[in-house]
């Protein structure tokens, strides 16, 4: 163990070497530990996007919270969306600690969101026009999130890992909540089944996009940095394949179809073969040009502006009390 004093006498290169050695030994990095700037930046980018996606992700489901069809469903979806906000809070706290040495705060993150610098997940830019979408979001979008987050449970950054452990435990309940809505519709009337089929069809391209573009052998510098630092351990395509393996058979088993007649599991390569979604459209969506991007951003921005006086009041009260 080095003491802090000794560590400060090391050159940048030596610090970097020591850091990489820690990573290689599978050690976990804490918020106060020395870390290279690009490690910090990758984490800020990843975690703030994850956190803000949780918060923006509450908005499509929010549309269905007041309308949930039974008292039990009303209670369940309120709890579910509250959890998502809670995840957002947990992750923004982790991001805030990382940003603190750079002099940035949550306020900066919110402003970055409004100006489009900070992106959120493609799925949350999409429309959710029926109750079935509330089910599909819980079942498949949260299902997809569980797959990416489970991969990150072993991330080298300890505060993120701790947050993810809690989040994943709750996400499993969410996926069950979504599955329960979906099963009820799947076993329901013809109209309910049709509502569900339309929702699955609607969400399919977005679900494929969720994991990001396939690498096709060329890993971006971002991804390779993340893998070198053990921030993440699997590629986009590996995650997507895991998702397809888990959910395609279930969707077919329930008697529903996918808007892709070519999709099948190729035994020889051990891979799912499927029709690629429109990756150009994906870029536009995450840039904020999805069907509901402007609406959801404006909802968040308006409420943020409308309640500015409240945050000012809290600050003022804090100053007086302090």
């Amino acid at each position: 163990m080095q003491t802090r004093m000794e560590h400060s006498e090391l050159t940048e290169n030596e610090k970097m070497e020591a850091f990489l050695a820690r990573i290689d030994r599978g050690e976990k990095i804490e918020a106060d530990d020395w870390m290279p700037a690009d490690y910090r930046n990758q984490l800020i980018k990843l975690i703030s996007m994850h956190g803000i996606s949780e918060i923006m992700g509450a908005l499509p489901e929010k549309e269905w919270v007041p309308k949930a069809p039974t008292l039990r469903r009303k209670l369940a979806i309120m709890a579910k969306v509250q959890d998502e906000m809670g995840h957002g809070q947990l992750l923004l706290r982790v991001a805030e600690d990382l940003m603190a040495p750079l002099g940035k705060t949550r306020e900066d993150l919110m402003q970055d969101l409004f100006t489009g610098r900070l992106k959120f997940h493609n799925v949350f830019h999409m429309e959710a026009p029926t109750w079935a979408d509330a089910g599909v979001i819980g079942w498949l979008v949260d299902g997809a999130a569980i797959i990416t987050q489970t991969m990150s449970l072993d991330t080298s950054y300890a505060p993120y890992a701790r947050a993810l452990h809690r989040i994943c435990a709750e996400e499993k309940f969410h996926a069950q909540h979504g599955e329960s809505i979906v099963l009820e519709l799947a076993e329901g009337t013809e109209a309910q089944r049709q509502m569900l089929q339309e929702s699955i069809t609607r969400w399919w391209p977005s679900l494929l996009m969720f994991f990001g573009p396939p690498e096709n052998g060329t890993i971006t510098s971002n991804q390779s940095a993340n893998m070198r630092y053990k921030i993440r351990s699997q590629t986009n395509e590996e995650l997507r394949q895991a998702f397809l393996t888990k959910y395609v058979p279930r969707i077919f088993h329930l008697g529903f179809t996918l808007p892709d007649e070519t999709i099948h599991f190729d035994e020889a390569s051990g891979q799912w073969i499927y029709q690629q979604p429109d990756w150009e459209a994906f870029k536009l969506i995450v840039k904020g040009q999805g069907p509901r991007s402007a609406h959801r951003l404006s909802l968040r921005e308006t409420s943020y502006e409308d309640t500015k006086w409240v945050r000012d009041a809290i600050m003022s009260f804090g100053r007086q009390a302090g």
């Binding site: 039974t70 709890a79 329901g188 409308d306 309640t307 003022s316 009260f317």
Partner: protein
């Protein structure tokens, strides 16, 4: 107190038609108050002043919705239909909530250009919460034992809600001038409707005679005394006697705000109430 006989079960309550009717009338008030205000709370989701508050407010709305569910289930056990049907298939005129809880959160719709008033949210939640506390305390003496039992259960959760709103009220009352003004405007607005909270509705005489809850005047005085004390400790002026809206919610007279709320909250269920959701 000649009529003060404890009724242990719904079956027993149903043996006296007049008692069961008075009990149902009261339960509709309790259920609808919590249900509609929880609905208004759920519209705030994602729009609260900061993320921590969003989580806290949502949690309290869930508790309140949970309380409504318990009351609706008691109505179900009295043979008034399925709890889901009671909550979602009645028309606005069949609701017995006070007008205060049905008022919109602000302008716009929850998902379409909402401009919600946080000061109103705090004051309404707190003033209603203070009344609810008095009511839950009184219900603990109810002759209907299941009602006395659930009110004890609700009280534990409800205390935390009151603490939460007290912190907010105190902070906003003692922060910026702007916040103070908004708070006072919200108090004035809440005060126009708040007087109806303690109204026990058209069957008040039977409700009290059967010992289901204490009389209006007792509830009202306790609630006003407590509210006055809270306002004073936050340094707020006492707004005087609370008023009532021109509609009387406890008698089934409601504003267009409730019609909109009922249409929204039952939209999916009404697609096919016979289906399983």
């Amino acid at each position: 107190m000649a009529d003060r006989v404890l009724i242990e079960t719904a079956e027993q309550a149903k043996q006296n038609q007049e008692y069961a009717q008075a009990l149902a009338d009261l339960l509709f008030q309790l259920a609808d108050d919590d249900f509609i205000l929880a609905y208004r709370g759920s519209e705030w989701l994602g729009l609260a002043p900061h993320i921590e508050e969003d989580v806290a407010f949502s949690s309290m709305s869930q508790d309140m919705m949970g309380h409504a569910v318990m009351f609706y289930e008691m109505l179900e056990s009295l043979g008034l239909g399925k709890a889901d049907d009671i909550a979602q298939l009645r028309e606005a005129k069949d609701f017995r909530n006070a007008i205060l809880v049905e008022r919109k959160n602000g302008t716009g719709e929850y998902n379409d250009n909402p401009h919600y008033d946080w000061a109103y949210a705090i004051v309404r939640s707190y003033v209603y919460g203070l009344y609810k506390q008095v009511r839950l305390e009184a219900l603990q003496q109810s002759t209907y034992v299941p009602l006395a039992q659930v009110s004890r259960k609700m009280m534990t959760e409800h205390r935390y809600h009151l603490m939460h709103w007290q912190v907010w009220l105190n902070q906003l009352a003692n922060s910026t001038k702007d916040a103070r003004q908004r708070l006072e405007a919200a108090i004035a607005k809440v005060w126009q409707d708040a007087g109806e909270l303690s109204d026990l509705g058209p069957s008040k005489e039977q409700i009290v005679r059967f010992g289901l809850i204490a009389g209006e005047e007792i509830l009202r005085q306790k609630w006003l005394a407590k509210t006055r004390e809270i306002f004073q400790s936050a340094g707020l002026n006492w707004p005087g006697e609370p008023g009532t809206a021109s509609e009387r919610g406890r008698a089934g007279e409601h504003t267009a705000d409730l019609e909109q709320a009922v249409a929204t909250l039952s939209e999916v269920y009404r697609i096919d109430p016979a289906a399983s959701w």
